[in-house]
């Protein structure tokens, strides 16, 4: 396979140069008889399917892919076939969905997910430098999936990052070594910079919040 183009920040991997492997069988809806599905995966997907009106169970596709990604660390072909089996869809329908969304990984990646926002507001505040510094600091760690990302909806804490779902910021370049260590060690990243702890910026809010709270 020749070198494929990647977006600058490595978030997507096109498969343009892939031909079909003519020795494989066509990928039809997997037969439950020949497709064993791990019980916990099946349970999760079936619970999601139950939320939708009868006949509309395919609406559980995205939750099912999340379940696969949680189970295997990424959306493995095997996991997709299993989800397809439970959903009674073809695996192609699932891969079409999985590759549409930025957060689904269709190639093996590290289990620790770190998104650094490099969109407008964050880059005005030094996000590109932050991403570069973090990349240097973390290096080639197979357990870390470090990606530049589009606006994460937290421009008020620019430059910022999401570490396994936890938003932190603003992150200064001085904090990068510590953050990298915390990511490697699985420690809580920059606890003081957690978005969820941040009070509102609006001065009227503190004025309106009753003292008895």
């Amino acid at each position: 396979m020749s070198d494929v183009q990647r977006f600058e920040h490595g978030s997507r991997v096109p498969g343009w140069d892939d031909a079909a492997d003519l020795t494989k069988d066509p990928a039809v809806i997997p037969d439950p008889q020949t497709t064993p599905v791990p019980a916990e995966l099946r349970t999760q997907i079936e619970a999601e399917m139950a939320r939708y009106p009868a006949g509309r169970e395919r609406a559980a596709t995205i939750p099912a892919l999340w379940a696969v990604q949680r189970h295997y660390g990424w959306c493995t072909p095997e996991g997709i076939v299993q989800a397809a089996c439970v959903l009674e869809m073809t695996p192609a329908e699932l891969i079409a969905v999985a590759t549409f969304y930025d957060m689904f990984e269709t190639r093996p990646v590290g289990r620790n997910t770190v998104y650094v926002c490099t969109n407008i507001s964050c880059s005005l505040c030094g996000a590109d430098e932050l991403l570069a510094a973090l990349r240097d600091e973390i290096g080639e760690d197979p357990d870390v999936n470090l990606r530049g990302f589009e606006c994460l909806g937290a421009c008020d804490i620019a430059p910022m990052a999401s570490v396994n779902g936890a938003y932190i910021g603003p992150i200064s370049l001085d904090e990068v070594p510590e953050l990298a260590r915390q990511i490697r060690e699985g420690a809580e990243p920059l606890p003081a910079k957690r978005l969820v702890l941040r009070p509102s910026a609006d001065p009227k809010v503190s004025a309106s919040t009753p003292e008895d709270a």
Partner: protein, 427 residues
């Protein structure tokens, strides 16, 4: 002065729990609403003048009135995809006051006769989604959701569905396809979601902030609410302000306030010694305004008159230390990355624009490329299936038009630098 509604008590510890929310008067508006005839409720919503807070600014009550009467399965869907760069207001609302949103959803569902509802939240907002999930469970436990909403005999289910990272799923029909388990490609309209939305049933889709305002409208009444703000822009609005400002964050303002007061007064203006160079008044999709426009009133009509749009109410400030070329390239890259690829002008136009800007940046462009780029934007605008293409083309056009001199100077300088480098290598 009632200019604090949505953010009332917002930092009160525990507000995200149902006990505290109820203690602060939560779910009272719902009880009032359930005693009102749905048709009358829709009239109240219409009378409030509330316009959609998600970006398009469509009158909320009018949209609710488009939902057909009848026994068919109807849905309410909350657009919590919040992916427009610069926008982060829904995040704070959901994280800190989820029940306000849930109460709004129930009121809306009752008004239009929907018995199933969904919150579609962007996948990146994991922390907020967890909070919402917990709040929804509480609301079920307290009987605000389920088969008999607050003892009224009305039925409503609510489920939080997490996205997985795609800006286009904020576009309402892309969202619906995503919610149905597909790629989030926008649909052809008509039919509009009000007639054939989720699972082809009539569907009311509103933004988080729009629905969060409903309890307040019910509480205050249409007249009082509509008196807040200015003509055609009633009520309060959350403004997300970010970029080169000293105090970035969400602020609740009364619509009509001067932009300067927001940028300088609330957010503290650019860092010491810096000036506002240009600003996006309504998220990255809005054409940029400059320092000359700072005195424009912050409301739908005034911003439109200034040549831009209020959009999602997200102000991004760029100061005079920044290069317009860099911002423009970031912006084009974003839209090229997020284009769903369904329609030709957007898919190819965003991609082409990004490539041209790349050449502007690295010095391999000529001023003629600026003309081509400007004309490419004109060829995108109005020709796409949804407005994502326009959402790039309009701000890019505005930047080229307003800062053409800087683009040209950049091209010259980058070219000279590239030439020097080439000579250096050769010699």
């Amino acid at each position: 002065m009632t200019d604090i509604l949505l953010f009332r008590d917002i930092d009160e510890p525990g507000l995200a729990t149902i006990d505290v929310y109820e203690r602060r008067g939560g779910y009272q508006a719902l009880r009032t609403a359930l005693k009102t005839d749905p048709a009358e409720l829709i009239e109240t919503l219409k009378g409030s003048g509330l316009r959609g807070r998600g970006g398009a600014g469509f009158p909320m009550g009018l949209k609710a009135s488009f939902i057909p009467q009848g026994d068919m399965q109807k849905y309410v869907v909350v657009n919590a995809d919040e992916s427009e760069p610069g926008t982060f207001k829904d995040r704070e609302l959901m994280q800190k006051n989820p029940h306000q949103l849930i109460e709004g959803v129930i009121i809306a569902a009752y008004a239009v006769g929907a018995t199933k509802s969904f919150i579609y939240i962007r996948g990146e907002y994991e922390e907020q989604a967890d909070i919402l999930d917990a709040a929804v469970q509480e609301a079920y436990a307290k009987g605000y959701l389920g088969e008999n909403v607050a003892g009224s005999g009305v039925e409503l289910s609510l489920h939080v569905q997490r996205g997985a990272g795609a800006y286009i799923c904020g576009e309402e029909t892309g969202l619906l396809d995503s919610l149905e388990g597909r790629r989030g490609n926008p649909r052809l309209k008509p039919p509009f979601p009000a007639n054939a939305g989720l699972f082809q049933g009539p569907t009311l889709i509103n933004n988080v902030e729009t629905l969060s305002a409903l309890p307040h409208i019910v509480e205050l009444g249409a007249e009082t609410y509509s008196a807040i703000g200015v003509a055609n822009s009633s009520g309060t609005k959350l403004i997300s302000i970010s970029g080169n400002v000293q105090r970035p964050g969400n602020y609740e303002i009364e619509l009509g306030m001067s932009s300067r007061d927001i940028i300088y007064g609330l957010a503290g203006g650019p860092p010491e010694g810096r000036e506002v160079k240009f600003w996006f008044p309504g998220g990255s999709s809005s054409p940029v305004l400059t320092a000359d426009d700072l005195d424009v009133g912050y409301d739908f009509d005034s911003i439109a008159k200034a040549g831009s749009m209020l959009g999602s109410g997200a102000i991004i400030v760029v100061d005079d230390s920044q290069s317009v070329v860099d911002v423009c390239l970031k912006l084009a890259h974003f839209y090229a990355h997020e284009s769903c690829g369904k329609c030709t002008p957007c898919r190819e136009g965003t991609n082409w624009t990004e490539k041209m800007l790349g050449r502007v940046k690295d010095g391999t462009a000529t001023p003629m490329d600026l003309d081509i780029m400007a004309s490419v934007q004109q060829r995108i605008i109005g020709n796409c299936l949804c407005v994502l293409g326009d959402a790039m083309a309009m701000p890019v056009s505005s930047m080229i038009a307003k800062f053409r001199g800087e683009f040209e100077a950049h091209i010259e300088a980058a070219r000279a630098a590239a030439d020097r480098a080439a000579v250096g290598v050769a010699g």
